[in-house]
Point group: C2
């Protein structure tokens, strides 16, 4: 990529290029930015990565990432233990937390069922979810899965698996997103918003 | 950003978000990717950063970055010492090297003159360039600066400063880029390509 830059810089660039959102070109720009701002950026990032590698672990209850196990959410007595929100990945859990609209606990599946990618139920954390749902404290499992084919396949499968436990199984509402101009929305969203219309 | 993620992850995200090309949202995705792929990504990146911090330095001759000083280009006896290509930043030097169209030496200015940003000649490596150009071995200084207002202001200033040294001062050609469809080109480029037209 940069014949004259030496193997250390090459290696840094090729690792940065593996991050989602960075291609080869932006990885080079990022490497340069790091090398130009050593004290403000390169050294702190190097330390933050070592710190994270040493201290962040997977929560044994919900599958989230935290420095404590059980994680802060699972350990928080103020969070409603009767509600479990099922998410695909930790990124979705963080998005839910930012929205601040949920005060229960989570369960991270670790992916979605996918016939195309060959992901079966055994590859996901479904057994532990069913066990958690069987606890008599749990009233409701909310499936916060993406509105994609794999997301919906997974939601239907989970609903069936959870049917025996007696908990209520719900899913996020579908409709027009906040700020969503009808002009720019896809037909599927408009059709779902129409079907799920409610009194104004 | 992610209330439940703990300060280590927060710090990692906020440092990643400072990289060019990564915003807060993609920095979160990058942090998750790192935490999920510790052995393939997180640990190697952490080491690569520490390595780069320890070993990469600025070349005392041309201002490029390398693990050796003078850098590999300045130290290479096969590179033509009579040609100096002036670039804004190391990123532009790397782009020139990838193009493989230049076998001389470089000079990294470290920025461009900018009235708006208050960058004057004293902030750039102009004195060292004039000194290098005064060496009798040097025949030509090629200004490979961006085709922007600041790039052209800097090019004119450098041409004046170098006038006394007797070297030829040239700049990159302007015209239609490879693959450039006229439909998508800006008017300025088309006008310059027309003015600089040549026999087919």
């Amino acid at each position: 990529m940069a014949a004259s830059a030496g193997p250390e810089i090459e290696r840094l660039i090729s690792l940065l290029a593996k991050l989602p959102g960075l291609g080869p070109r932006s990885a080079r720009r990022a490497a340069l930015a790091l090398l130009k701002r050593r004290d403000q950026l390169l050294n702190p990032l190097s330390e933050a990565l070592a710190d994270a590698a040493a201290r962040v672990k997977t929560c044994g209850v919900c599958g989230s990432l935290d420095t404590q196990d059980p994680c802060a959410v699972c350990a928080d007595p103020e969070r409603d233990a009767s509600l479990i929100c099922v998410v695909e990945e930790v990124g979705a859990l963080w998005a839910m937390e930012r929205a601040g609209a949920f005060r229960g606990r989570y369960h991270v599946l670790g992916g979605l069922l996918s016939a195309l990618d060959g992901v079966g139920p055994e590859a996901l954390r479904i057994g532990p979810l069913v066990n958690r749902a069987a606890d008599e404290k749990v009233r409701e499992v909310i499936l916060a899965l993406p509105a994609t084919v794999d997301g919906q396949t997974t939601a239907h499968y989970l609903a069936e698996r959870l049917a025996g436990t007696g908990v209520a199984v719900t899913m996020l509402a579908r409709g027009v997103p906040v700020g969503g101009e009808l002009d720019w929305l896809d037909d599927g969203t408009i059709a779902q918003a129409m079907r799920a219309r409610r009194p104004a």
